[in-house]
Symmetry: C2
Subunit: 144 residues, 2 copies
Amino acid sequence: MSGFLEASVELIGDKMMFEGKAGDFPPVITDYIPPLGEGKGYMPLQLFLISFASCTGGSIAPFLRRMGKHVAGLTISAKGVRREQHPTGFESITLDIRLVSDDVTDEDLKKVLTMAEETYCPVWAMIKNNVKVSTTYEIIAEAL
Amino acid sequence: MSGFLEASVELIGDKMMFEGKAGDFPPVITDYIPPLGEGKGYMPLQLFLISFASCTGGSIAPFLRRMGKHVAGLTISAKGVRREQHPTGFESITLDIRLVSDDVTDEDLKKVLTMAEETYCPVWAMIKNNVKVSTTYEIIAEAL
């Protein structure tokens, strides 16, 4: 476990576009919708949703596998409702989880979701008490 | 102001790699360091730092400009110290701000930073009381 992590962003141009970098990965461009920005990159809040959804997924998949279950597919859609007044962060986020598996039960999925929320998803922990998070899920049989 | 935002992630392969998407932007790959993952994409917490830094920068630059100041360059490096126990989110984050300008004063920068923290940066608001955030800054003269 690395004890700390770094990332940086650099302003590009005359509006609000930034080039974000961490590690050796391809840069991520952030921007805002016009007229504030030029709409040429992820809004920081969209990037936040990807961070949160992948963090949750990164708890769900390995724990199901450790329980001996087969994860044939996993998609998480995150929908955030923004506050109407500044700061316009999310007042609530829904994670819609779509899992493809022949042997994962509702109970299995509920169990790992609780583990993600309470213990293993760092992003979830960092927004606790500030953002209401709810989840829905669907377990789909594997294709023959 | 869009009232809600969406993003989705899809599991790729047998470990913890996800392909993240929002809007029409190029996908962002997330992953974890080995052995949990394959180290082929941003860790979700690195993506979180990019989201937070660009959100802060997106408050600073336009407000300085509205004050009639010239922003010739702006880089924000975010360093997060992780908790040693699960959930291993950040217990503290430092934002190191490097601004290139001939007319922005310390007071100007402090003022917009306070505005970002208290009102205009949504990511900052969502981690309030859960993560300690500190800032350092340097104002560098524009090249002749």
